[in-house]
Symmetry: C2
């Protein structure tokens, strides 16, 4: 390993320059004007894979943006790891808030500022450079690798899903490695082993066939907006618990060990509250903030609308009112089952004085990697060697839909070894990535391949 | 009186033609393009007043549209009645839904179709013709009259308010007569003796300083839309009663006599429900539909908005959510006192995990005419003679702001003697007025002046 580490150390500057080249390509997936840039970026990645010695390198056209794949399968008898990343980036707006141009990587105080730096080019590229190091130094890898880099993560990975289904056999792997999550904090290498799922619903309450004058008719008919408020209010109790029958039945409780480890993490609640701008934190009684966000289900109104919402006053009883309501789910809640429970409960809460329609938007199951999985264990040891610090095991409150997809289609858990920092402005102006984390990410990736071979 | 009745009967056709002339003037107050029409209409009314022998006829310019006044004060020792009406009309849109041109009065099956026919030209014009009958036949009126016809009722009567304040002395009267309300139904002469008031509020709940990702932060902070729903829900109890402390303290209960009279009115609840398009009627427990709409206070959400309201799904915790909430008030609730109670109660309901701001929009006090007032009694007898049927005493769920203004500034109750029908499409296409009601309205007005003189 020392040879590999030396190679990485000696080539650190070149690796950064190559990353910067990648960051100069404005691969914005949601904007048709960038179609040529998307293709250029895919080609550049394919050339990079060829250059470092991967086999079967392909740029797969899709209905949207291309998917780039490559592999090295020369480690007979050794496990195979599928490495996923995405080369598409968020739009740069609002452009005027950037301190340096979004597609001209600029280094300030050890951070490279550029759109896509941390999300996700700078993260998945660590694995490119780790693989390159092995193939240059040893002409082989300790394990088999398959790379899948897509160009539509920021717009829903629609075409990747079909691609994985079709190529289920050729994508077979023992482990899936994704670097697209943040570390808990600076100097805290982190392994994310849990994600929340989602059930996203839309409820519409309909009353009279038209908006009614609230003077002439107020008091005679149920007001759909009042009814909707009552329904929403009844969905969560005074302790912050969701009232849908059976909602908590499948929730895996946090172990004492997990609660202890969460509690040991340095979350500065006062700073967190100040940053969010809320008068106080709030949530389910009996749980800490990290427990609430990482390991407890929630029910949130994402949007609500009905009646007159312009300036001033209009005295109407709205004909209808609707709300988008989503639930974050935790292992082992099932998104479909929860959606059904929601529908049944909301219908029961709804009085016969109005009619109600409930629509399901997208959903996804939560994810929990078994902490005793050899891949997770190997990743933990690798991070410790890459960062020279014991990693923390964390969860994430959001969902990464592609993780559930891999889990479901390939039947293997994902190892989420992220090298970003929580304040690196992914999806915002002045996105950046810490170059020391980029370097330690390459080291960690190299160690991971080795650890996996030995585990 | 028989002479007067004969004159009115003999001139019925001419009166209708004169009304049609007035209806041909497109006096749409909300549209600056009709400024000249407004002035033409005001001049036509002044000429009509001069022609029938009123004194001190004036067209008063205002910052908006002119106010037309005239008087006849020759009945020494007799009471004075101030007659109010408005010559402005609603816009004609959507023009394509009119079966005949809105400003070309067209008679079909005894109804004249035209914008402004029932609201309010055809109604206030009954009094013009009753006065004319007396002045032609007897060269005098049984009581003193003052006419005030404004041109801004459909846009808020802003300038009339100031006009009344300034001319408080010269507008002094014993009774105020307004014909701008509907009858309970065809063949049911109606005297409206109560209106509801209003307190219109806007509540905004603010949480985080920006929309938050509902995955990364859901569970850690209070969701302003959920909080707003809880507050709204808590404002009305399961019996449909408003929970604001003291809310009902000043409510004058319906008398047994009133409840009996309301109950005797032929409200077809099934047809009413069908027309409104609701699955069932609903309201405060223990009261009938008419009682709920006419004589019980309500609390209705007029509009609600927060977070993502577009198509599809967006997983955010909204930074804020707001609602417009108005309460209809009944005698003797006080609009300001109720608004204060609302503010205090909502603040109390709001948890410390969010901040709240409450804004007051317009309000107005309810109105209740004393049924034993000699003017009301005289109006009742007059309607019976004009329509040859006993009148019904009704209330109205809405507010007529100018009624409260007259009540407050002049200190006299309004007599609301309406000649419209509930289905005559005021504010909608194909507005119409029943010509028999127009004729009987003139007779009723003539009888009213006589009854008032004798009372």
């Amino acid at each position: 390993m020392q040879e590999i580490r030396n190679f990485i150390a000696q080539n650190r500057g070149r690796f950064e320059q190559e990353l910067f080249e990648l960051l100069r390509i404005p691969s914005v997936s949601n904007n048709p004007d960038h179609k040529a840039d998307m293709e250029q970026c895919a080609r550049a990645l394919a050339q990079g894979m060829e250059g470092m010695g991967l086999k079967k390198v392909s740029v797969h056209p899709t209905k949207g943006h291309p998917i780039v794949t490559g592999e090295w399968m020369g480690a007979e008898g050794k496990p195979t790891v599928l490495i996923y990343g995405h080369y598409d980036v968020q739009p740069e707006d609002p452009i005027e808030e950037w301190e340096s141009p979004p597609f001209e990587p600029t280094v300030r105080e050890g951070q490279v500022y550029a759109r896509g730096s941390v999300d996700d080019k700078g993260q998945f590229y660590t694995h490119f450079k780790a693989i390159e190091a092995y193939l240059r130094v040893k002409h082989s890898l300790p394990v088999n690798v398959k790379l899948v880099i897509e160009g539509e993560e920021e717009i829903g990975s629609e075409n990747l899903r079909g691609f994985i289904k079709i190529h289920r056999e050729s994508l077979k792997a023992d482990y899936i490695l994704i670097s697209d999550t943040p570390m808990f904090g600076r100097g805290m290498p982190s392994l994310c082993y849990g994600l929340r799922g989602l059930a996203y619903m839309e409820v519409e309450v309909k009353g009279p066939s038209r908006d009614l004058h609230s003077g002439s008719f107020g008091g005679a008919v149920a007001n759909p907006a009042n009814v909707l408020a009552r329904i929403i209010s009844a969905l969560v109790d005074d302790n912050g618990r969701v009232t849908i029958p059976g909602f908590y039945d499948d929730v895996i409780p946090l172990t004492d060990q997990e609660r202890k480890e969460f509690a040991s993490l340095p979350l500065d609640e006062a700073a967190y509250q100040k940053e969010l701008g809320v008068p106080s934190l709030s949530g389910e009684r009996g749980f800490t903030t990290l427990e609430r966000v990482w390991a407890r289900p929630t029910l949130d109104v994402n949007g609500i609308m009905g009646g007159f919402t312009g300036e001033g006053a209009k005295t109407i009883i709205p004909a209808s009112a609707k709300a988008k309501i989503s639930m974050r789910l935790v292992p082992n809640q099932d998104s479909d089952k929860i959606a059904e429970g929601f529908e049944a409960h909301v219908k029961k809460l709804c009085p016969p004085t109005v009619t109600i329609t409930i629509q399901r938007h997208h959903g996804g199951n939560p994810f929990l990697a078994p902490l005793d999985n050899p891949g997770i264990q190997a990743a933990g040891r690798a991070l410790e060697k890459g960062f020279e610090k014991r990693p923390v095991f964390i969860r994430e409150g959001g969902s990464i839909p592609i993780v559930a997809t891999f889990d479901e289609i390939l039947g293997k858990p994902c190892i989420l070894m992220g090298f970003g920092l929580p304040d690196e402005n992914s999806h915002a102006p002045n996105e950046k990535m810490d170059l020391d984390n980029f370097y330690r990410g390459i080291l960690s990736s190299a160690h991971f391949l080795q650890e996996l071979a030995e585990s």
